[in-house]
């Protein structure tokens, strides 16, 4: 059986103390991961802190304001000030609340978000903490634990707003989890593995980003991902005008910030998976010609590539928030169940059909763990994805939702009763 072993980079295992006193197994599986985790958590938590600042700055920029600019130069110390403020705030637990669950809920939400970080390939070679063979399933499984934290938090608060927010949030998250999972299936047919690092390597072998094969899948994934993280325009669970603050209405101080960290971390994870599965991860065409693959410089560059792609997607998150109005709740559910799910099913069936046709014509060949695609095969697969899959799905969706009141792809005659209403 082939398994992937973790290994520390050579420069690390040659550090004087480690080399002399430690068993290589302990080094590879305990010390080096600890170093990685420490670095990762530091970077991610700092990033999350600065994402809040970025969000405020971007919103200010979009609305032609200045944004926070008092604390530090250009407001750069604002996150630090916010953190200290949250730490020294009062810690309220409502009297009627279910105390144990109330305390545990935000921890669950945050842990679920942070643990997923372990399997994401942040860069080539040693820049991933663990490359388990069911990476994608692991992430999907662990991140659904976040729902648990939210619904427990809302339930334990024993407040009407919190409970309603939690229910809405849970229903929304489970609804969008389905198209999110289904949208990934199409890409899996090309990368042929669930281990995330191998997905990137397979895309590197094919010299392509999966988004070209799977434009529809990427789109569905992105929309579902935004809804999954409860971000605008799908931020119904915390719609201020209706539900105060949603599931964390009763949370204050540092417990509130745990939920906050969880939300931003799951945004980061959604973006990171989108980058890994659809946008080639750390793979950038031509990078391996400039730098020697496997060298420390190459790994650092790959981390940079990954970070850049992820930040671009995060920017899209913020951009959408300040561009689109909020959905109504029934519209939100309709979008999930009547648009995203049929679209993702159609995407799977069409992709499967196209792949079989390509295989019958000898355009692609399966080589054990990966595909090999001829030049004509690239043209065929990319062409059909854009020319057949997307328009056909569009037509199907238009047909099955022709009577929809809220969304429509074409002008339809108003229903007789609506017409009558208009006349009167």
């Amino acid at each position: 059986m082939y398994i992937y072993l973790l290994s520390a980079p050579i420069w690390f295992s040659k550090l004087p103390i480690l080399k002399d006193y430690l068993d290589p197994m302990v080094l590879d599986y305990l010390v080096w991961p600890l170093v990685q985790i420490g670095l990762l958590l530091f970077v991610v938590l700092t990033l999350i802190a600065y994402l809040t600042l970025a969000e405020r700055k971007i919103s200010a920029w979009i609305q032609v304001r200045i944004g926070p600019n008092r604390v530090g130069p250009q407001g750069l110390l604002q996150p630090l000030a916010d953190g200290i403020k949250l730490l020294i705030k009062e810690d309220l637990i409502p009297l009627k609340a279910d105390k144990g669950i109330f305390i545990v809920a935000p921890i669950i939400a945050m842990v679920a978000a942070l643990v997923s970080l372990a399997v994401i390939p942040w860069g080539a070679a040693w820049a991933t903490i663990s490359n388990i063979d069911v990476g994608l399933l692991f992430i999907l499984a662990v991140s659904s634990f976040g729902v648990l934290g939210i619904i427990l938090g809302g339930w334990a608060s024993n407040s009407k707003y919190a409970l309603l927010g939690a229910l809405r949030s849970a229903a929304q998250m489970v609804s969008y989890e389905v198209p999110m999972g289904l949208a990934l299936i199409g890409a899996l047919m090309f990368t042929k593995t669930l281990a995330l690092q191998d997905m990137v390597i397979n895309q590197e072998n094919l010299h392509i980003w999966n988004v070209l094969f799977q434009p529809l899948g990427f789109l569905i994934y992105l929309i579902s991902g935004i809804a999954e993280t409860n971000r605008a325009p799908f931020d119904l669970p915390e719609a201020e005008s209706e539900l105060v603050a949603g599931y964390h209405t009763e949370y204050s101080g540092f417990r509130f910030s745990l939920f906050f960290i969880a939300e931003y971390a799951s945004m980061l994870i959604i973006s990171a998976i989108a980058v890994t599965v659809f946008l080639g991860g750390w793979y950038l065409p031509g990078l391996s010609y400039i730098l020697i693959p496997g060298s420390t410089l190459f790994v650092l560059a790959s981390i940079g590539v990954f970070a850049f792609k992820t930040l671009v997607l995060l920017y899209v998150f913020f951009w959408l928030r300040w561009s689109l109005p909020r959905y109504r709740y029934d519209q939100l559910m309709e979008l999930a169940w009547k648009w995203m799910i049929p679209a993702s099913l159609a995407n799977i069936l069409l992709t499967a059909t196209i792949l079989v046709i390509a295989k019958e014509f000898g355009l692609i060949e399966s080589q054990g763990n990966f595909l090999s695609i001829s030049t004509a095969g690239y043209i065929f697969l990319i062409g059909t994805a854009f020319i057949i899959t997307v328009p056909l799905t569009w037509i199907i969706l238009g047909q099955i939702n022709a009577r929809s009141r809220d969304f429509n792809l074409r002008e339809v005659e108003p229903l007789p009763m609506n017409r009558a209403k208009k006349n009167s």
């Binding site: 992937y4 072993l5 663990s130 899996l188 009763e250 099913l345």
Partner: protein, 150 residues
């Protein structure tokens, strides 16, 4: 009968490592693959201890002045009326059930997608039957109004 009625499932070839050794070391060993989860366990422990430690630190820093009004549930400033845990819409239950069905189906699709190019035409027929049955149930749910929120 139709030709596929008595088809033998073509089993996939044994996996061949495609990974260049410089990037991820793929070595033939008899170490249990579960060791790859050890770093995840480490991260889990650290991730759990982070909020616990932070909450404890903050307990030294924060003020604690409670009163009755502050500790009651927020209801726009009024005194809370009754208990929050009342009956809520049946829609949520329906969504939960639909989610269960679809999520299980999704999980079944993952292994299929991984070896799809080797299954080829057989896999295509199978998945059309599989998703066909799913779509029948989906259509039925839609027709019966399970997907309507209002």
């Amino acid at each position: 009968m139709i030709f596929f009625l008595q088809e033998q499932i073509p089993l996939p070839n044994p996996p061949i490592s495609s990974a260049p050794p410089v990037q991820v070391n793929a070595i033939l060993t008899d170490i249990n693959p579960i060791v790859n989860y050890l770093p995840i366990l480490l991260l889990l422990i650290i991730a759990i201890s982070f909020p616990v430690v932070a909450l404890n630190i903050s307990s030294f820093l924060r003020r604690t002045v409670f009163d009755q009004a502050k500790l009651s549930a927020y209801e726009c400033g009024n005194d809370p009326v009754g208990d929050a845990r009342e009956r809520y819409s049946v829609r949520y239950y329906i969504i939960a059930m639909l989610f269960l069905i679809f999520d299980v189906e999704t999980v079944f699709l993952f292994p299929w997608a991984i070896i799809y190019d080797q299954l080829a035409i057989f896999g295509l027929i199978e998945i059309f039957i599989f998703i066909g049955i799913l779509i029948v149930g989906y259509y039925y749910a839609w027709r019966k109004g399970a997907l309507e929120w209002v």
